[in-house]
């Protein structure tokens, strides 16, 4: 099985390539990368005017299977990923049951082998039952295929537990992904604490509740020399803490979500529960600080925190609606439109944030088009105009604040191991 991608702009920040090149794919791998490759019987796709990138990775996705299949399944979630330009997703462990043992990790990978159209990298729990008390069997899960550990959905509240996890994770050199939130300070808050929360009569979730945990985590990462990854960074102060920690040589990375980069807390003013997420949307000053952190390299990856919920679950009083929005099928267009065409970062940097950035964090041999690499490829049309239409999502859920947005730039084709899993050209 040979496939020749012709005339595209090949953009692979990991190997420093940015040129109009042909890409030959053989047996699921990148075989050659040259100016003019003869077809010689290979199937040919003409990608003139399009950008050929390493496969995009989303390192923060809630696939909901097992246990909450009415929200999403591995089959629908990975189809949404493929349509959104992603060739691999890391799935968070807060399923039912939670992924805190070898058997659950294995069963996720078995289901993925049968149903998934993109690669699935399970994230294991830090604590047994995600109860925040006892360390889960991380070694077992790592052997079974877990590539990171997290109690996402909630923070690792106990400093002792986080210390143990960071120490333990050094054995396999995997990151601990922390959802940084001091639940005591959040105290039931549902939107950012500020003018908007007051105006809406809703309990505020102050930015400082994230900052104090990021700071604690960084200190513990330094103390243990373990690998810390801060999930969904949302405040300027947290970005400052990570920036300083990196300068000091502490092993910390972080991700930002498209929604925290594109929206502010004003988006919830109309009580739109599809703009309710955790951490909450922040004011413009925080959003600007995150953009700066994208530019100066403080942020390592863009991840969606894709969190599907059924429409009936979201259509309730704002304070009772569950946190979270879907992101797989909007992330790339939102980022191309707002960040690249918006002038915050160039296309190469954006590609890095979706490819080599997350690959490095998860320790995956992915995120590059170098010959010999798996032929995971994302093709972008940076100028295509799209309108976000949740009715056409592959995801089972449609809880997005971006409905109706007109965006410039879109993923148009996705290949996993040389196989076309989405073709919207």
């Amino acid at each position: 099985m040979r496939l020749l991608l012709r005339n595209g702009r090949v953009l692979d920040p990991a190997s420093g390539v940015d040129d109009t090149l042909d890409v030959l794919i053989e047996d699921g791998r990148i075989a050659r990368l040259e100016a003019k490759i003869p077809a010689r019987g290979a199937e040919v796709a003409d990608l003139a005017g399009l950008v050929v990138c390493p496969g995009f990775l989303d390192m923060h996705v809630h696939l909901r299977e097992p246990g909450q299949e009415w929200k999403e399944t591995i089959a629908t979630g990975t189809r949404a990923a493929a349509a959104g330009g992603f060739t691999g997703v890391a799935c968070m462990p807060n399923t039912v049951p939670v992924n805190d043992s070898r058997s659950v990790t294995e069963s996720i990978l078995r289901t993925a082998a049968r149903d998934a159209v993109v690669a699935v990298y399970p994230v294991g729990c830090v604590s047994k039952g995600q109860a925040g008390e006892e360390l889960a069997e991380m070694a077992d899960m790592f052997e079974a295929g877990a590539r990171a550990f997290s109690d996402d959905g909630q923070p690792v509240a106990s400093g002792l537990l986080l210390r143990k996890a960071l120490e333990y994770s050094r054995l396999f050199d995997v990151p601990i992904l922390d959802h940084c939130e001091d639940s005591g300070l959040v105290a039931g808050g549902v939107v950012h604490e500020g003018d908007v929360s007051t105006r809406m009569g809703l309990r505020g979730w102050p930015g400082v509740a994230e900052d104090v945990v990021v700071q604690r985590d960084v200190l513990l990462a330094e103390y243990t020399a373990g690998r810390l990854h801060v999930a969904h960074l949302s405040t300027g102060r947290s970005a400052d803490i990570v920036r300083r920690a990196k300068k000091a040589g502490i092993r910390v990375t972080c991700e930002a979500t498209p929604h925290h980069l594109a929206l502010t807390d004003e988006a919830v003013s109309g009580f739109d529960t599809n703009a309710k997420m955790n951490p909450p949307l922040r004011p413009e000053s925080d959003r600007r600080a995150l953009l700066k952190a994208l530019q100066d390299g403080t942020v390592d990856a863009i991840a969606t925190d894709h969190a599907p919920h059924h429409a009936d679950e979201k259509n309730v009083e704002f304070s009772r609606a569950p946190f979270g929005i879907v992101g797989l099928e909007t992330a790339v267009s939102v980022c191309l439109d707002r960040l690249v065409h918006g002038g915050t970062i160039g296309l190469p940097r954006l590609v890095e944030l979706f490819t080599s950035g997350p690959a490095r964090i998860l320790g995956l041999a992915k995120g590059t088009l170098a010959p010999g690499a798996d032929a995971d490829v994302t093709v972008l049309d940076p100028n295509r105009r799209v309108t976000v239409d949740p009715a056409r999502f592959r995801s089972k859920s449609a809880n997005t604040p971006f409905a109706g947005w007109s965006l410039r730039g879109a993923p148009v084709m996705t290949l996993v191991a040389g196989r076309i899993v989405h073709d919207g050209r």
């Binding site: 039931g188 105006r199 309990r203």
Partner: protein, 296 residues
């Protein structure tokens, strides 16, 4: 009392207020003021916070009267910006309930009210209520009414009508959580409640009178707490709020206080001030030191 003729008037109109959509009440008021021979400028608000900002800039700009054209929400916003400045605030009623206009006995016709206030207005200096950082002119609602308001605003497209509120109240009777709220007036006596109204004035929306003893002329508040634990409990109590006989019931209690702090273990007890949502408990309610001069 002596009447005062205004010299320079800022007409602050909220086009989104009131039941008569599309009617240019702001323009009508500005014309009435000009006809009366008083200099005026018209400013229309667009977003939340506009009225407060515009009112705050009025003293420095040389205005001696700000006329809020709209409802109690418009007055509420303007009061935030103007209290403590000495510049008078008047209301040309164009809202749905117009409670302040009713309390002050101002004509419920915006241009006519404007003409009266500009040419022969009186001045009432009073200390508005204070809730956390904000001021309120009429009342603070804690719990049920703010819960209903929030849900109505979430559901209504555009400005909610009286029907929306009626529907919201019925729905609220089923969805409200009747949380345990504690009020501490600092005098050793605590009040338990599932909802409450802190009144700065004797009128409340919907012709209810939960705090009939509150008065703009006295520097104190009346708190009325409700202890019902279910929708049916609240429904049984409702009629007594029209007559004022609720204070005789076991599941309601009213007291005069100068300050009171409300808190709850439930993180989701919303607060409304003059019909505008304003955060959640915990919150302190008192009488502000910033004098608000009302044109009446």
């Amino acid at each position: 009392m002596r009447t005062i003729r205004a010299r320079r008037v800022l007409v602050l109109a909220n086009p989104a207020a009131g039941p008569r959509k599309g009617r240019d009440e702001g323009g009508a008021v500005a014309r009435a003021v000009s006809r009366a021979g008083v200099r005026c400028e018209l400013e229309r608000t667009r977003a939340p916070g506009d009225a407060s900002r515009a009112a705050a800039s009025a003293p420095a700009a040389g205005f001696d009267l700000v006329l809020a054209v709209g409802g109690d929400g418009t007055v509420h916003e303007a009061a935030q910006g103007i209290a403590g400045s000495g510049v008078a605030l008047g209301v040309a009623p164009a809202g749905t309930m117009n409670l302040l206009a009713r309390v002050l006995g101002i004509p419920l016709d915006a241009p006519r009210a404007a003409e009266l206030l500009v040419l022969a207005g009186r001045r009432l200096a009073f200390r508005p209520g204070r809730a956390g950082e904000r001021l309120f002119v009429l009342m603070a609602g804690i719990g049920f009414d703010a819960w209903v308001l929030r849900e109505v605003l979430r559901r209504a497209r555009g400005r909610p009508s009286m029907r929306h509120y009626a529907w919201g109240a019925l729905r609220g009777l089923r969805t409200y959580r009747f949380p345990e709220i504690r009020f501490d007036a600092g005098d050793g006596r605590r009040l338990r409640a599932t909802s409450a109204v802190v009144g700065r004035a004797p009128l409340y929306g919907g012709w209810l009178r939960p705090t009939p003893r509150a008065s703009l002329e006295r520097d104190e508040l009346e708190i009325c707490v409700f202890r019902g634990r279910s929708g049916p409990d609240y429904l049984r109590m409702a009629p007594s709020l029209w007559s004022g006989s609720h204070v005789d019931r076991a599941d309601a209690e009213a007291r005069i206080v100068t300050a009171v702090r409300g808190e709850s273990h439930d993180p989701d007890v919303p607060v409304q001030l003059d019909g505008e949502l304003a955060g959640t408990l915990p919150m302190e309610f008192g009488v502000s030191g910033r004098i608000l001069v009302l044109a009446t």
